[in-house]
Symmetry: C2
Subunit: 513 residues, 2 copies
């Protein structure tokens, strides 16, 4: 058996069932092996940033890694921005990168590059296979490394001759590593703070943002009077009617500082102490009060839910907590704006929907508008590298074929990985993409003012506007085989969203406001 | 004066006139400075791979660097594949990357990443500015480093606070470094080989592929009976009627080995010993005969043209050499295929045209079809990272507004940086893009067979086909504001190409065959 086949068999044996691919010549033996081995679904993307982002979205929902198959250093380079997002999301991904055959590597051929150097900044684990006899064992290690809590990108470089040479055999899957148990002292410290009578806040992120973790956190907050927040940007948040609502810490630093005003004990659950997204001249970076003690209840690799459970018992927390009511907004009417879009979403999101949120400025209206929607998952831009929303939606739809995926996407961000639409069409994925078309990098217009810069001049203004020419997302979607429509009023949008959510398969709505 | 303004003034003073940009918050002070300083034209792209590739295309034609302005680690990451191509092209680029403000860097904010680590694999020079007092001097160093022969990507990381803080002043431009002079011994050795009576070949790349260098090489070949080749992929080749034609070494290794059969002395001019693009099981990597001596006449940083001049004198080479006749093919008719497209190009390319060639498999017909076209420049995919053709065409059109640019682009490759079309529309660039739409990664179908793999199974075949759904490039172009048409016969193509080359501004023709 050659190295490629042993590797595919090993990955399938370890539960890796999907491969988001942009293969080239050096990966052809891996591609050929996919035909000989049952159990690994290859999904072609037209650009590697789609593959890396889709693997992120897949793992967020499937709770296990997909693989990616990329072509040497430059193919990997194209996937790096979304691997950066996956790194910040702590998403497990098994990233396979082909390389030149070993004897070819000493020549400076056109595609020669330092593949490992490209991989290191985004990877929790990087190895290169050097012979067919060990590539399968490295594949098993890669899966284990990707899944090792809190989760990360494991990059395995596979030279072409390692893939094509005989003498390999599949390797058994590693026993999955468990999350660490939080030390009793950390729980006791948190309990002490929560009982102190001083103002406390819980700040949460990671897997504790599922319904069960949020219920525990709410019980603790109700028992102690603590405030309850989650990070501004999260990998996956379960929310909607019947669940415990949690308030994200505001994006803008001034608002975040206000939210934490008076807090004397900030208790971290699967996250780190909160800082401003960017620094601004003369403005604080740390968002917590100067006299506030920051304590970690559970680190990112810890079993936060178990710790919350012990803490809730310790505090004798009430068993029942209020959950979010179903709030079904009236169908909006009149001019189209993010608030109207939020109302439509709040009314129409079906139960079990998965929302991929890269709405940037518009998210400020869409998130509150959906607080009482039918229960759903909310996936966010974790690493600030725009171009994540469409690929994450694509991967989430692969992971959950029975659930509706809605992608809320800024027009500027959409253009980074617009090729995602083609993969959605090819695979018949049930994704409704809403393009929030304000025809500008609106966030930058806000940031310019926050930086204390005066009204931008013509050249600067040009760098913040993506009009001239206007992008026509209906044409772009149709060019990639996705049905599309444009809404310019709230009524049109509501009708189009209702129709798209009723029909299976990919749709795009350009919401022009 | 703040750091950003001092940096802009320094770059302008050093002759950097264009900035291909995808700015974000951390680059806003640089953007604001562009309004206060005359002489730097900012050009917005919708994806960083367009910016890096456009800077490459610009410098190939302008013979001096443009700058790029990218947003932190992930923005840089999106530009890396085309920086890889620029590295292999030895193109000078001044790559400016914003970073978090210095006091912000110790926090693991969402966009925090190791910017220098991303930059290193593609850069000839990487530095981070640490204070406003030195950022301008680093800018001047970056320009010098980019221009240092043979040319490369110089990356300067600029933290936001370095850009916004006062206390900076512009720095003077460095004296440009000259190319090294080839040692007389190397010229004498080459002369000795060329006089030996044994079969010799010159293999050329780099700046010697301009008309003057090629004339010298042809004179030497005629005096000595040597064969004359250029690399398979070149940064810029001057060719067409009235110029000396040069044969590129064939892409496929078997054909390249045959071309060099019997050669006992291979003389390198601005390039390295030729190797196969990829390795294949049991096939040779080195393309020259085992008993052939490989000698370097001029290295990549050397003044190859001066060396050729001395060598031509040494060999008492004839002053006159035959040049390529104008060959104007008849307008093709009937079914559309790459040969017909080549004939149309051969007939219609206007004098001074710049061709950006990322036609992959179709190039085998397009290159010979244009050998006798009106004189023109041919720019190629130097690093094998597809997605270069459209951006290089974009940058070349910025550099040469009075010349027609024609981009010959495979459909699979086009989708990597299709966002280029929008920048062409916004800037009104005179680029005619021909999409060679065979609806597959045709090169991979060939490579699969060359690797000795049997007929691909269904899953493998799916990874090589980009049909299902078919891409509609006319819709995609119109979605980005570029006039477009589709040709399905040779007659249609000829008429559409003729019209596009007559009208100014961007056009796209989807050549479906």
């Amino acid at each position: 058996m050659n190295g490629a086949e042993a590797l595919v068999r090993t990955l399938v044996g370890a539960g890796v069932e999907v491969c988001f691919s942009n293969p080239g010549t050096s990966e052809m033996h891996f591609v050929a092996a996919l035909d000989r081995v049952e159990g690994m679904r290859p999904i072609l993307t037209l650009f590697e940033g789609v593959a890396s982002g889709a693997a992120d979205g897949y793992a967020r929902m499937a709770e296990k890694p997909a693989s990616t198959l990329l072509h040497l250093g430059p193919g990997l380079a194209n996937g790096l921005a979304n691997f950066h997002n996956a790194r910040k999301a702590r998403t497990p991904v098994v990233n396979l990168v082909g390389d030149h055959a070993t004897p070819h590597q000493r020549y400076d051929a056109p595609l020669s590059a330092d593949v490992e150097a490209f991989a290191r900044p985004v990877s929790a684990w990087v190895r290169s296979a050097s012979e067919p006899g060990t590539v399968a064992e490295l594949g098993a290690e890669a899966v284990a490394a990707a899944r090792k809590p809190p989760g990360g990108v494991a990059t395995l470089v596979v030279p072409a001759d390692v893939a094509w040479s005989e003498g390999a055999r599949p390797a058994p899957a590693h026993e999955p590593a468990k999350r660490d148990t939080v030390a009793p002292a950390a729980i006791a410290e948190a309990a002490q703070a929560l009982r102190s009578g001083e103002r406390c806040a819980l700040l949460m992120s990671g897997p504790a943002l599922r319904a069960s973790g949020l219920t525990l956190a709410r019980r603790i907050a109700d028992a102690s009077g603590a405030l309850l927040f989650c990070d501004t940007f999260n990998t996956r948040l379960e929310r909607g009617a019947g669940r415990v609502a949690v308030q994200p810490l505001p994006y803008f630093a001034v608002a975040a500082v206000a939210a934490l005003e008076g807090v004397r004990h900030l208790i971290l659950v699967g996250t780190q102490a909160p800082v401003a997204f960017f620094a601004y001249p003369g403005k604080p970076i740390e968002l917590w009060p100067a006299d506030c003690a920051v304590r970690e209840l559970a680190g990112r690799a810890d079993d936060a839910e178990a710790a919350l459970e012990v803490l809730a018992e310790e505090l004798d927390a009430p068993a029942d907590v209020p959950t979010q009511d179903r709030v079904k907004p009236e169908p909006p009417t009149g001019p189209l704006h993010p608030g109207a879009i939020g109302a439509s979403l709040g009314a129409l999101l079906p139960e079990g929907a998965i929302v991929s949120d890269e709405a940037i400025t518009a998210a400020a209206a869409l998130f509150p508008g959906t607080v009482g929607a039918a229960p759903h998952d909310w996936l966010q831009l974790t690493g600030g590298a725009i171009g994540q929303g469409l690929p994450v939606a694509t991967g989430a739809a692969v992971a959950c074929p029975d659930r509706k995926v809605v992608c809320l996407e800024g027009d500027g961000s959409a253009m980074y990985t617009i090729q995602s639409l083609w993969t959605q069409a090819r695979e018949g994925l049930d994704v409704t993409t809403v393009i929030l078309a304000n025809r500008s990098y609106a966030i930058l217009q806000i940031e310019l003012q926050r930086l204390g810069l005066e009204q931008p001049g013509r050249r600067a203004a040009d760098m913040l506007s993506i009009g001239r020419p206007d992008l026509d997302f209906v044409a772009l979607a149709r060019g990639m085989g996705v049905a599309a429509s444009r809404a310019t009023t709230a009524d049109e949008f509501h009708a189009q969203l209702g129709a798209a959510l009723t029909e299976p398969g990919p749709h795009l709505i350009e919401a022009l406001y």
